[in-house]
């Protein structure tokens, strides 16, 4: 590129300079990106990814506030009760991704069909899910130390409609 043609290619001390308009373009792009990032901090939003709020773990938790988490329990076609691994290897959907759209799921539990489909696609030889239960656990904390008491609350259930994976071979 033209701006990289050196005046004296052999002289390493002589900087390869950028033309003025190349510098202006770079500074403008930087200014726009920095403005977006700054507004995203003042008025926190994740929607402007990758220049959104730097908000991971930014909410402080009071020392006595219980820790809530969502989990999905599944009944498999072999009758086992398992806890659905909500991670990248399990069903690809993470727990935080379920919690982030809990309202949508509660309004339309058929979304959980996707969990059964993903399990079948990723683990075709494991027993398929026939029923899913979305639950919320509440673990109590006192002075920053867990008490060990855990409450479980059922939020919704979904009976799987489709047949996924080849695990159906040893069904019923």
């Amino acid at each position: 590129m033209s701006e990289n043609i050196p005046a004296q290619p052999q002289d390493p001390d002589r900087p390869l300079t950028l033309a003025r308009h190349h510098k202006v373009t770079r500074l403008l792009a930087t200014a726009i990106a920095l403005t977006i990032l700054t507004i995203a901090q003042i008025n926190p939003t994740n929607d402007w990814f990758p220049l959104g709020s730097l908000s991971q773990y930014s909410y402080g938790r009071p020392l006595d506030s219980p820790t809530r988490a969502v989990r999905i329990m599944a009944t498999t076609q072999t009758g086992d009760e398992i806890r659905v691994p909500l991670n990248q290897q399990g069903v690809g959907i993470g727990r935080a991704e379920i919690e982030g759209q809990l309202d949508r799921i509660l309004a339309d539990p058929s979304m959980l069909e996707g969990i059964a489909r993903a399990w079948g696609g990723l683990h075709p030889h494991r027993p398929a899910f026939i029923e899913l239960r979305l639950e919320r656990t509440t673990s109590y904390v006192e002075n920053g130390v867990p008490t060990g008491q855990v409450d479980v609350e059922e939020l919704t259930t979904w009976t799987v409609q489709g047949t996924y994976g080849s695990g159906s071979g040893d069904a019923s």
Binding site: L51, R61, G92, V141
Partner: protein, 306 residues
């Protein structure tokens, strides 16, 4: 003042530094898409959970499918290898930038957004602007200087900016976050066997919170430090991340790798070339070998501030 700022923003660095940094960044991305952000292929099985971010709604990124994700992953691997080697540096670099943005938009587009990839993603957008950069090209360039400066800035802002999020999210209090039990909350939820022992020691977690908070506030000071003090300061971050990784299982590698933009990486290329020259010398094939006695150009330390 403006002149001083421009000299800082475009402070020339050797092109070889960019060449080595490209190898590091593009290799890291290959590792990243197979280990850290490998949820993109599984996401294809459950597209009903896709909740696209602004860029996903405004740019024509494909809807999540398994086949689409596999194609995207291998396209990224190929463009990363080409970009790391320095061939077609602009084209391959832009290909990585666009593909990685699409990849990350999918990974983060299921209603949970993390921020440890911000500096890495910014880096993929500035590296192609440098153009051709050879591993032994010690000529200093303003284009290279700007690209690495932006990477440095994005890295530091990842820490410094999150302080504002921590203050804003806790009733605009400066001490509420480090005094809270946010790590207890996080570890109770994560429940990894490696870290649960720490739950019995809230003071340990609180100390870690204060450590993180203070180091985030101080991060911006790196731009006022020079030479070995700067390297020592950055090492503090490496030690902190290593400690939290060993004790708590949390790493921040996509950001950690971007800290390397502060270092005279071209010395790695010079070192490798010298070593290679010695090996060839010893095996008797001296045709194109670099003799250890060849005067190599000392990299210009533009950041040592005169």
């Amino acid at each position: 003042m403006i002149k001083k700022f421009l000299r800082w923003a475009f402070a020339p660095v050797p092109l070889a530094r960019v060449a080595v940094f490209r190898v590091i960044i593009y290799s890291f991305i290959i590792w990243d898409i197979f280990t850290l952000t490998n949820d993109v292929i599984p996401h294809g099985y459950a597209p009903e959970f896709y909740d696209p971010l602004w860029i996903g709604r405004w740019l024509p990124f494909p809807e999540p499918t398994v086949l689409g994700a596999i194609i995207m992953q291998w396209a990224l691997v190929v463009s990363c290898i080409v970009a790391a080697s320095g061939f077609f540096s602009r084209t391959s670099g832009w290909a990585v930038a666009i593909l990685f943005l699409a990849w990350m938009e999918n990974s983060q587009g299921f209603s949970y957004v993390s921020h440890d990839h911000m500096a890495l993603m910014v880096t993929t957008w500035v590296l192609p602007t440098v153009g051709r950069a050879g591993f032994r090209d010690l000529r200093v360039s303003e284009a290279a200087g700007w690209a690495l400066r932006i990477t440095q800035f994005a890295t530091v802002v990842t820490y410094f900016g999150s302080v504002f999020a921590k203050i804003a999210s806790n009733g605009y209090s400066f001490i509420a976050w480090p005094n809270s039990s946010v790590f207890t909350w996080a570890f109770m939820r994560r429940g990894s066997e490696l870290v649960t022992w720490t739950l019995a020691y809230p003071w340990l977690l609180k100390t870690a919170q204060w450590g993180l908070y203070i180091i985030e506030i101080l991060s911006i000071a790196v731009f006022w430090l020079r030479g070995k003090w700067q390297y020592a300061f950055i090492s503090l971050f490496f030690v902190f991340h290593l400690a939290t990784y060993l004790a708590l299982g949390i790493h921040f590698l996509p950001t950690v790798v971007c800290w390397l933009a502060f270092f005279p990486l071209e010395r790695i290329a010079t070192g490798v070339a010298l070593l290679w020259g010695k090996i060839r010398h010893r095996t008797g094939n001296t045709a194109n070998a670099v003799s250890p006695n060849t005067p190599t150009v000392e990299p210009v330390e533009v950041e040592s501030g005169k």
